[in-house]
Amino acid sequence: MDWLPSLERVQSWHWWVLGALLLILEVLAPGVFFVWLALAALVLGLIVFVLPLPVTVQLLLFAALSVAAVLLGRRYVSRLPASGNEGRALNAGAHRLVGRTVLVTSPIVNGVGRVRAGDSDWRATGPDTPAGASVLVVGAEGTTLRVREISGSWT
């Protein structure tokens, strides 16, 4: 029973085992949380392997490393290649219509009207335009599209 970690003696491989267990937990119960603790445990195991530290210092280090892992990990994840580029088109709501040319179905009066985009009608804000004109979608807020006239297309 002397291989169990105690408050007097924690060895490096204890931390590694903890890290492995945490990773397993992460896979079984997804939600990006245990992975940071696991990373911290693995790194701490490495440190303890190089220079043996008292248990309390190890625990403090573990806490500090966990916080550091979250902060560094977040920065690193956002810099991963192709992170967010593909997903940006998903659930983008009205933003997916930006850049499209749409048809005004009911005239834009006092800055508010309706346009037809795809197979649905959208509320639109922009310069006053008669019905039947084509406008360009330049932005979106919630369920409202911001439109402007297509320059030089008025007849």
Binding site: A63, V70, G73, G87, L90, N91, S120, D121, T143
Partner: protein
């Protein structure tokens, strides 16, 4: 020892803090972040950090397009037909914050709005319109519901009326009406056919009559011509006979006539009919004609005494 306990507690605290501060939002959802209960911002899909103990996740809003089944309800149309209607609504939350805080129960609100508007739109149409103008119904419903859900950050993308069921007896009469229409058309076509046939038949008869008349006319012409021709021939024959007579002897005619006379007598005598009347012959006339024959013969044989008929020859 006390220090060790503090350290352990501290470690637990750090772990809990991390747990409260690190939020990963799955794709398709947006979470709202509340700071002391007040809405702060929306958390996009991916890894998010919030201030532990101060911020917490409020609502987890589904940003995918969702389908709501509109349960069937009874609607009275403009022409007082009671129809059962159900439908389906597709909507998508575009603004998580508005959908979370502007409306209490988004699904129920959208559903009720749609149901009442189905009644409104369909109540202003009569049954025939209802059954044939679904596109228009859908468009009108969508316009109203979309406008109404705008403040909730929701986009109603599509509303479809699924099933319009008139009551059974009404369906039966519709079917009857349809059948009657078809039968009417069939009858009209029948009558047309008969009319055309009669016309054609009459045309044919007319043509036949005309052709008949034409034929008769031609025949009459030809007959007249034939009579003319035969008269001419007779005249020519008579002329030739009279010429012959003028050139020759009268007795020749007598010979012919006598020959006929005798032939006629034989025929009368040999007739099978019992009712034949034998008229008394004028023997003298007979003899006269025989006399004529004799004279002809005499002339022919150059004045020699003819032998008596039935007499013996001298040798």
């Amino acid at each position: 020892m006390g220090f060790t306990i503090v350290v352990v507690v501290l470690l637990l605290l750090v772990v809990v803090t991390l747990f409260a501060g690190v939020k990963s939002v799955p794709q398709g959802y947006e979470w709202t972040q509340e700071r002391f209960g007040k809405f702060q911002r929306t958390l996009k899909p991916g890894l998010n950090l919030i201030l532990p103990y101060v911020d917490r996740v409020g609502r987890k809003v589904n940003m995918m397009e969702q389908v709501l089944d509109v349960p069937s309800q009874e609607v009275i149309t403009k022409d007082n037909a009671l129809v059962t209607v159900d439908g389906v609504v597709f909507y998508q939350v575009l603004d998580a914050a508005k959908a979370s805080y502007e409306v209490r129960n988004l699904q129920q609100a959208t559903l009720n709005l749609t149901m009442t508007n189905i009644r409104t739109v369909m109540g202003s149409m009569d049954l025939d319109e209802l059954l044939s103008n679904r596109d228009q119904i859908n468009a009108r419903l969508l316009a109203v519901v979309d406008e109404a859900t705008e403040p909730w950050g929701v986009k109603a993308t599509r509303i479809e009326v699924k099933d319009i069921k008139p009551p059974a007896d009404l369906v039966a009469s519709m079917a009857r009406q349809m059948k009657a229409e078809r039968e009417k058309r069939a009858n009209i076509l029948d009558a047309e056919g008969f009319r055309q046939a009669a016309i054609l038949k009459a045309e044919g008869e007319k043509q036949a009559e005309i052709l008949n008349a034409e034929g008769r006319r031609q025949a009459a012409f030809l007959e007249a011509e034939a009579r003319e021709r035969s008269a001419q021939a007779e005249a020519a024959a008579t002329r030739m006979v009279s010429e012959a007579i003028a050139a020759g002897n009268v007795q020749a005619i007598n010979y012919f006539v006598a020959q006929r006379y005798v032939d006629a007598l034989r025929e009368i005598a040999s007739a099978p009919n019992q009712k034949t009347l034998i008229l008394p012959l004028e023997a003298t006339a007979m003899l006269g004609s025989l006399q004529g024959i004799a004279e002809v013969a005499r002339e022919a044989f150059g004045g020699r005494e003819p032998e008596l008929v039935g007499g013996r020859r001298r040798s």
